[in-house]
């Protein structure tokens, strides 16, 4: 495959970090993505032209900041396929979004004796939040296991989602295995008994067309930094009917309407859930990121990643002792390949890859319950994005072969 991949132009020149590190093979975009010039420029432009505290001042500059902030919200909502932009609540990222849902929705709607269901694929942000909510209110916390292929076992899910189930919280895409979940089917199972379906889109939004309004989920959380945007910004889109039943998450400026000595009233959406001075630079940067992705075309992004993932799986499988985890078909994954190589510990591998300028993740990928189910303590994870090429895969494979020789040279 060419550097341009399946219909995607070579975008590496757009990424200053990759330009200034031509030898770097960055294969850890599932942890965080690199940022294009367009995002850095948008942040600089905001501070250079429109910086003031939004919603606060009657002066024109504050109006410009307000416009920048809400313009970003509209842009991001449009990108994610949500017509109701005011139902997009900005947060620091997926972790805060899931905490918002577990607190602002969960504490109101989940009670003793109710059931909360998650899946074995969840990373800690969508696992511990619900586990702790269940402990706090005295609800049952149940985990849906996986099929041998690393997919959520929908037959088991149908049995687990009982009449007392209030929420099914699940990832769009697994960060550790790359598995793309059958969102519509999971939503159907949850809605059949009146439970809400909350989707953790941290690994979905960067790689797949989300289409919130058609997806059927009651909430969709995402992180800006995994989709070419800055760190510290993300959000959650929540069905408005649900948002209206939710108690504020945090208290402070912006989220109030009137404050009296004894009680207060709350501002309208989205402000009710955004206490304090917002992260305008983050929102503006993320809006630039989604515009950039839109210009590439999410279908082209997806095709590029599938082609690269398939190539990586084929090439990795030629190495003796290679064990690949997760779905066998590249189409069933986002751009993630998780593996172990013989008896070489993932941390030893990642050190040896690092020396060749190759950045991979080695560890439990913030998904300890999943790793236990796979009977491994850790794996190596290579994850791809728009700027990765077949040459990156070749570099990875060559470095792994080198590591294997180094590790086995001294032993008979």
């Amino acid at each position: 495959m060419s550097a341009a991949g399946a219909g995607l132009r070579d975008v590496r020149p757009d990424f200053p970090l990759l330009v200034s590190n031509p030898g770097l093979v960055y294969l850890d975009s599932a942890a965080t993505s690199q940022k294009p010039h367009a995002v850095l420029d948008a942040i600089r432009d905001y501070y250079g032209t429109a910086n003031a505290n939004p919603h606060r001042g009657a002066y024109k500059l504050s109006g410009a900041a307000t416009d920048a902030y809400h313009g970003a919200r509209s842009e991001i909502a449009r990108f994610l396929g949500a017509a109701d932009a005011d139902a997009l609540i900005f947060t620091r990222g997926t972790t805060e979004s899931m905490n918002l849902l577990a607190t602002a929705w969960g504490l109101t709607h989940v009670h003793r004796g109710d059931r909360v269901v998650v899946t074995r694929l969840e990373h800690h942000a969508n696992f511990v939040t619900w586990q702790q909510l269940a402990r706090t209110v005295g609800a049952e916390f149940r985990i849906c296991e996986l099929t041998p292929d690393g997919q959520v076992d929908l037959d088991q899910l149908r049995l687990l989602v009982t009449a007392n189930t209030k929420v099914v919280a699940f990832g769009h895409v697994s960060n550790a295995l790359g598995t793309i979940n059958n969102v519509r089917e999971i939503v159907k199972i949850a809605h059949a008994i009146g439970a809400v379906a909350f989707c953790d889109g941290a690994q979905g939004a960067p790689h797949l067309r989300v289409g919130f309004d058609e997806l059927g989920v009651d909430a969709y959380a995402f992180s800006g930094h995994k989709m070419l945007g800055p760190m510290g910004i993300g959000g959650v889109i929540v069905r408005r009917a649900l948002l209206d039943t939710m108690h504020p998450y945090q208290f402070g400026g912006d989220m109030i309407e009137f404050v009296f000595d004894g009680d207060s009233t709350w501002n309208v959406l989205p402000h009710k859930f955004e206490a304090g001075t917002p992260n305008v630079e983050g929102a503006v940067g993320l809006a630039a990121a989604v515009k950039y992705l839109d210009a590439l075309g999410m279908d082209a992004v997806r095709a590029h990643e599938v082609a690269l993932t398939r190539y990586a799986m084929e090439q990795l499988a030629t190495i003796e002792g290679m064990h690949l985890y997760g779905p066998a078909a590249a189409e069933a994954r986002s751009g993630v390949v998780s593996f172990t190589l013989g008896d070489i510990h993932p941390h030893d591998l990642s050190t040896m890859l690092d020396v060749d300028g190759i950045c991979v993740r080695a560890g439990h990928h913030c998904a300890q319950p999943l790793m236990r189910a796979l009977h491994v303590t850790s794996t190596v994870r290579a994850s791809f994005y728009v700027y990765n090429t077949a040459a990156d895969v070749d570099a990875l494979v060559a470095s792994l072969r080198k590591a294997q020789v180094r590790f086995h040279a001294h032993v008979g």
């Binding site: 060419s2 590190n21 770097l24 070489i344 993932p346 300028g357 077949a390 570099a395 494979v397």
Partner: protein
């Protein structure tokens, strides 16, 4: 699939910035994964439990799943015997294997002094002959992300000594 860069080179360029391959990197790796370390990893010594242990202490690194437990038999302030069990990377396993041999017959005070020398060696990168075979781990100094791997068995050992017989 045709490739856009020469395959199998492991890198496009020598690169100058953060994370790019650096000159002498292979020498660093050779120092990190030298034969003695890999040998201890492959054929660990002093691995197992200790029936007459006076202290047992386990330490885990939640980030990578490394898990090591050290059992000591201490009498009159002397480590008569030490054994370890655990799973983890080569650096952790080799450190544990060498360390159990090193402390055999030493007083607890001596072991604590050696622990300080080991930390100093990781900070400086200069091999310390007083650490016996463990001086092979001086190469870990250049890999900050791996310091924890080499320190884990020491933490378990000091914990086991503190727990019983010290």
């Amino acid at each position: 699939m045709p490739t856009s860069a020469e395959p199998g080179t492991g890198a496009r360029d020598t690169g100058a910035g953060t994370g790019a391959p650096v000159a002498g990197a292979d020498a660093g790796l050779a120092a990190l994964y030298q034969e003695r370390i890999l040998d201890h990893y492959r054929r660990p010594r002093h691995k197992g439990t200790l029936a007459r242990a006076t202290g047992v202490h386990g330490v885990k690194n939640p980030l990578c799943g490394d898990d090591v437990s050290v059992a000591v038999f201490v009498r009159n302030g002397v480590v008569v015997e030490a054994q370890y069990t655990g799973i983890g990377c080569s650096i952790m396993q080799a450190t544990a294997s060498m360390l159990m041999g090193l402390v055999h017959g030493r007083t607890c005070d001596e072991v604590e002094a050696l622990a300080r020398r080991f930390d100093a060696m990781l900070a400086s990168g200069t091999a310390d002959a007083a650490l016996g075979e463990l001086d092979a781990l001086a190469g870990v100094a250049a890999f900050k992300a791996r310091h924890k791997c080499a320190k884990l068995p020491w933490q378990a050992l000091l914990g086991a000594m503190a727990e019983g017989g010290r």
